[in-house]
Amino acid sequence: MNLNIALKVNDRDNVATIFAEVKAGTKVEVRDKKGNSETITVAGDIPYGNKIALFNIHIGKQIYKYGEEIGVATQEIKKGDYVHVHNLDSIRGRGDL
């Protein structure tokens, strides 16, 4: 069976983007630009175009996509977890802080 593909854009990234709607417990194949791949079991239901964690990410630590910082973890994130606004906080444009 063909696995859904998740794309890791840059070597530094700790998240990958899945271009499919994926249910918790399914396996996805994470690919990078060099052709390396790794199979990861996703821990939550993930909508099209959203992200999963490729590593455990501690609370307060940076989350990287495109090799650049896209925010910080607001919870302990486990490998395979869904990463989005519920556990990732933007640090820019924050007039509330």
Binding site: P47, G49, K51, V85, R94
Partner: protein, 387 residues
């Protein structure tokens, strides 16, 4: 590399040949709409500014309308004045006349009100329309092209497919001697360090940081988290978690070339060549106007969730990164860059296809939004309050 364009008296080259009906103030919109509805090849700039604003904003509205009227895609212009607006109608007329194109003005208060103004405006626009109807296209080099680029209603496919296509085309147009303008300063936030590295000089790098700081300070001034404003709920549903993530995907559309400088919102292209930044917000009505008043003959617009709108005088080519959106909205989307996401095509293949399509559009082929006249919602980006 050529396209077929209208060579104007001021040496600029147009991809369209419209009569622009220009209300000098929001209060003239209804009269302008009636004129546009009646006259072949007339289009209107129905903005909402021009009165009870602070002088810098009134100047900006005048300058923006000058840029729109001077656009090489406009063959002739009719200014519709109310008679008591805060914009400088005289200055607007003189600036457009200087390009050598025919310009007329009607004033609603002087003509005795709405119905008289509509009749006079139809007569004036009819004459202008007939006057430019015989203009013919001629072959011109692609270096005459001024291409605007933008992304809107983005999702996670934008930064990985459609913006990559725009970046490919942007690099190609710069290599061929043309001009490329990108903006959306809000969507530099979190990615500005990458743009600064591409600035031609340290001064230009500093200018980029200044416009980002200015935009971010304005966003923070209400004391809240800017999420929901940027990224939008649609961006978030599409997988973009933060402005940083959105920005990093957004700047991909600017390609890889050196950044030659930073233009202010109402600035026009004079002898600018290569890749330029224009300080604009991300929202469509205001940025499309800002880009059209630059003198851009066309815009490449990348989308993931499906943004349908265009602009009255500037054809907007929709490059869709999401294959599902393309299927659902194929009557709004011009190019399917979703093929990159599903592995059917490469960025280069879709980039070449988009470049060829752009040459056809510059030569007269209409885009989807243009053909169904989805281009009415425009506005001018102002900074201060309405008072």
């Amino acid at each position: 590399m050529d396209f077929m364009g209208y060579i104007r008296k001021d040496g600029k080259v147009g991809a369209r040949n419209h009569v622009a009906v220009i209300p000098s103030v929001v209060c003239a919109n209804d009269v302008a709409q009636a004129i546009v509805a009646q006259v072949q090849n007339a289009v209107g700039y129905f903005h909402h500014q021009g009165c009870c604003q602070l002088p810098p904003d009134l100047d900006r509205v005048t300058d923006t309308l000058i840029g729109l009227g001077c656009s090489p895609n406009v063959g002739a212009a009719l200014v519709v004045s109310l008679g008591c607006e805060g914009t400088d109608t005289e200055c607007l007329l003189k600036a457009i006349e200087k390009t050598g194109k025919p310009v007329e003005v009607i004033c609603i208060q002087e003509l005795g009100g709405t119905s008289h103004a509509i009749a006079a405006g139809i007569n004036a626009a009819q004459k202008l329309s007939i006057g430019i109807s015989g203009f013919r296209r001629e072959p011109v080099d692609i270096s005459n092209a001024v291409m605007a680029i933008k992304c809107g209603a983005s999702d996670a496919t934008s930064g990985m497919a459609s913006n990559c296509v725009l970046g490919y085309v942007a690099d190609k147009v710069v290599d061929l001697g043309g001009t490329v303008i990108f903006g959306e300063t809000t969507e530099f936030i979190g990615a500005e360090h990458i743009l600064v590295r591409r600035a031609k000089t340290p001064d230009i790098g500093q200018k980029i940081l200044n416009i980002v700081n200015r935009m971010e300070s304005r966003a923070k001034s209400l004391g809240c988290d800017m999420r929901r404003g940027q990224p939008t709920p649609g961006n978030i549903a599409g997988g973009l978690s933060s402005i940083e993530e959105k920005s990093l995907g957004a700047i991909v559309k600017s390609g890889t070339k050196k950044i030659e400088g930073v233009m202010e919102y109402a600035d026009m292209v004079i002898d600018h060549k290569g890749l330029w930044i224009k300080d604009t917000p991300g929202r469509e009505p205001e940025i499309l106007t800002g880009m059209a008043c630059t003198g851009a003959q066309c815009m490449l617009f990348s989308t993931g969730r499906g943004a349908p709108q265009g602009f009255p005088t500037m054809p907007v080519l929709k490059i869709c990164g999401n294959p599902n959106t393309y299927e659902r909205m194929m009557h709004d989307m011009d190019v399917n860059a979703g093929r990159i996401i599903i592995g059917e095509s490469t960025i280069e293949q879709v980039g070449e296809e988009t470049f060829d399509f752009m040459l056809r559009v510059l030569s007269g082929e209409t885009t989807k939004n243009e053909t169904i006249k989805y281009f009415g919602s425009m506005d001018i980006y102002t900074l201060g309050p309405v008072i």
